[in-house]
């Protein structure tokens, strides 16, 4: 088996929300609240806790995301592993108080990088297959 150090990419989404840090922390860490905006889960804010996010299964995807809690720093930092279909990423949340509320930052790291732009041309004609693959991941919507 070959293992290569693949360069990875990180997705960052940041938004300021007019709500107190404590409340957002609850929405990120209380399983029932998490289900309301993200996915069904058996999450607990305990480092080392293994859990699953469950979406409705779609063809070729069982809808399961495997997680493990990595960091719990109450009201400010939360991080967990996010593994689905062999893609292993890490999701890290950071809450920072601002004047009008809280800045919510989500960083998902560990995406395989796309080597070079030459794939862009090669993609053409693969739309059908791509759509299927996207539907697999899109089942999470």
């Amino acid at each position: 088996m070959t293992t290569t150090a693949v360069p990875t990419r990180t997705l960052v989404i940041e938004r300021e929300m007019p709500h107190p840090q404590e409340k957002i922390w609850r929405a990120l860490t209380e399983g029932q609240l998490v289900e309301e905006w993200l996915l069904k889960n058996d999450f607990q804010p305990v480092v080392g806790h293994r859990f699953q996010f469950r979406a409705a299964p779609v063809p070729h995807w069982n809808g399961i995301i495997d997680g493990e809690v990595l960091v719990v720093d109450p009201k400010s930092r939360l991080s967990y592993g996010w593994g689905s279909m062999g893609l292993e990423t890490v999701v890290a949340w950071t809450l920072t108080p601002t004047e009008g509320g809280t800045r919510v930052r989500m960083e998902q790291s560990g995406f395989p990088s796309e080597e070079g732009a030459n794939y862009k041309g090669a993609r053409y004609g693969w739309n059908h297959h791509l759509n299927n693959l996207e539907r697999v991941v899109g089942g999470m919507k």
Partner: protein, 107 residues
């Protein structure tokens, strides 16, 4: 060392190989015997497909005793799927839902 995109495209152009790959992605690690039972073709044929999938790094393997276990490496799909844009749309949508929830929690 990046995998050549050609290998990935070629590997997935064949419906039997796609079925093998999808089966591994869905069900997790499997032996050639298990894959053969499912594929409905001969074991040598399955092995040939696995060679092509391995060359594209879509499939990895490990030996345990006399058995070889194969598993999917969906990260090799990176040339086909821009995971960042898929997840980007996913999280933006979830951020909206989080804000909706926060509004409702006020009440």
């Amino acid at each position: 060392m990046p995998v050549e995109a050609d290998h990935v495209f070629k590997a997935l152009a064949d419906p039997t190989r796609r079925a093998i790959f999808e089966g591994l992605a869905r069900e997790g690690e499997q032996t050639v015997h298990a894959l053969t039972r499912r594929a409905g073709i001969s074991q040598p044929a399955v092995s040939k497909h696995l060679v092509i999938l391995k060359r594209a790094r879509l499939v990895g393997h490990r030996r345990e005793g006399r058995e070889t276990h194969y598993k999917a490496r969906p990260q090799a799909l990176a040339p086909l799927v821009d995971w960042m844009s898929v997840y980007g749309a996913f999280w933006r949508d979830r951020f909206d839902q989080l804000e909706n929830l926060l509004e409702r929690m006020d009440k």
